[in-house]
């Protein structure tokens, strides 16, 4: 359908590039027309009836069978439904907490959205706590809402955390590389130092290793390997392993 789209996978696109729907020249009356579906991810928008518009600069990626998106390197997070993020509680007012997730507005988190919370049994959350939560509502029209339970009511790793570790920011590209199924950055880090890592898709990372010095080493390594190619990163990790850092 969008034949130009498949050809450009892996190429760098800039905003303003358009792709047109191609209409077959002859329509067969005997065979049924197979409807072809295309799922658009970030960076691609539908324009009118027959055109696709590229709205961000980056590399066009494709996942079988029909998902296309533009991968870019940006630092600013925009809330999206279903993403797990690290938030900081800023206000505790009545039944709702306000959480800073690094977006354009603060998200709201209800006190009932924790595992085992009832009106009598309130969760122990204070202002300034770190919380790992998921967006249940996140679009441009409404205030974003977070929950610390999944659809079955279980915490599943979400909730308040953070004693004894360090929170720092990295770019969204590095977060995506860490969350890949077989991430090289993560495996290189695991070989180097055992540490506990919480990855928030809003660009925030929380790390805790066995000592304060090792925690600082982990945070410095991750912040500096943001823009490094794999050979440079492996060299950096090797130097850290030898104790040069």
């Amino acid at each position: 359908m969008f034949s130009g789209l498949r050809e450009k996978v892996g190429q760098v696109l800039v905003p303003g590039d358009e792709f047109c729907l191609e209409i077959p020249e002859t329509l067969s009356l005997s065979e049924p027309m197979k409807p072809e579906k295309v799922l658009l991810g970030p960076g691609l928008k539908r324009k009118g009836d027959r055109k696709l518009l590229v709205v961000k600069s980056g590399v066009l990626r494709h996942k079988q069978p029909h998902v296309f998106w533009v991968e870019n390197q940006q630092r600013r997070y925009v809330p999206a439904r279903g993403e797990t993020v690290i938030g900081i509680i800023t206000v505790k007012s009545g039944d709702v907490f306000k959480v800073d997730v690094g977006g354009s507005e603060q998200a709201s988190l209800s006190y009932l959205a924790f595992e085992g919370a009832t009106k009598r049994n309130r969760p122990n959350v204070q202002v300034g706590d770190l919380v790992f939560a998921q967006f249940s509502v996140a679009n441009q029209h409404m205030e974003p809402e977070l929950v610390c339970v999944d659809s079955a009511g279980r915490a599943n790793g979400m909730g308040v955390f953070g004693a004894g570790g360090l929170l720092f920011s990295v770019s969204l590209g590095l977060i995506r590389r860490l969350l890949r199924p077989r991430s090289d950055v993560l495996s290189d880090l695991q070989k180097l130092l055992p540490c506990e890592l919480v990855v928030g898709m809003n660009g925030r990372l929380w790390a805790r290793a066995s000592s304060v010095q090792q925690t600082l080493v982990v945070s410095n390594l991750l912040q500096s390997c943001d823009t490094m190619s794999p050979p440079q990163r492996q060299q950096l990790f090797r130097r850290a392993a030898q104790g040069a850092l």
Partner: protein, 229 residues
């Protein structure tokens, strides 16, 4: 025989004139704190741009269905004056036309442009740096834009991308913002006296020059994403 229409005449001029732009260069993501940053150099004129957004906005400035774009231009020395305010308005109107502001209602986008050195074609350098910084920040845009400055000197010759000395001797100075999809004029800022025919010639020359600039944008973005991370 009727005289040739102005449009065909300006196209002849285009085919004949060699559009010469000074050497330009740019760098993206050079600042660590802003969400997007870029520096653009045209000859000796150099500008640095930084973008913050989409971020929180004051309730007095928020717009219910669009993002609020604020542009700040800092001159090389001194405080911003009326001239900077009028240039800010030109840059802001161009950016608002090319950004998809409805995707981020009730948020603020701030664009800060710092003039590092001025050797002519200041407004077009601001526009080019702004476009690269907005791309670097990952803000959704429906087209790219670029700025081209033309000067008409005493001999009625059109000079593109004039230096400060050429600007001083010119009798008319025009800056156009051109979009990347159909090469149309998005914004124009003119001073001096010129005829309608000369205006159309300058627009045609600017549209031709914009092709070089858009190709340069594409090449720099390609080089930036060529590193296999």
């Amino acid at each position: 025989m009727s005289p040739p229409s102005p449009r065909s005449r300006s196209m002849e001029v285009c085919a004949r004139t060699n559009v010469t732009l000074r050497e330009f260069g740019c760098e993206q993501t050079l600042l660590s704190r802003p969400d997007g940053s870029a520096s653009f150099v045209q000859g000796d004129t150099s500008v640095m741009a930084a973008v913050y957004g989409p971020a929180e906005v004051k309730v007095s400035k928020e717009i219910y269905d669009r993002a609020t774009l604020e542009v700040l231009i800092q001159p090389k020395v001194g405080l911003p004056s009326v001239r900077e305010r009028s240039q800010e308005q030109c840059v802001r109107e161009t950016c608002e036309a090319s950004l998809l502001l409805t995707l981020h209602p009730r948020s603020s986008l701030t664009l800060i442009l710092q003039l590092i050195h001025d050797d002519g074609s200041r407004l077009s350098c601001f526009l080019n740096a702004a476009c690269m910084a907005l791309m670097d920040a990952g803000l959704p845009m429906n087209c790219l834009f670029c700025g081209v400055t033309c000067a008409i000197n005493a001999d009625s010759e059109i000079i593109t991308d004039p230096t400060a000395a050429q600007e001083k001797e010119s009798r008319a100075l025009m800056t156009f913002a051109i979009d990347s999809k159909e090469q149309r004029v998005m914004m124009s800022y003119t001073t001096g006296s010129f005829s309608v025919h000369e205006l159309q010639q300058c627009i045609a020359v600017s549209q031709k020059a914009s092709e070089n600039i858009f190709q340069f944008y594409r090449d720099s973005v390609r080089r930036r994403y060529s590193k296999n991370l």
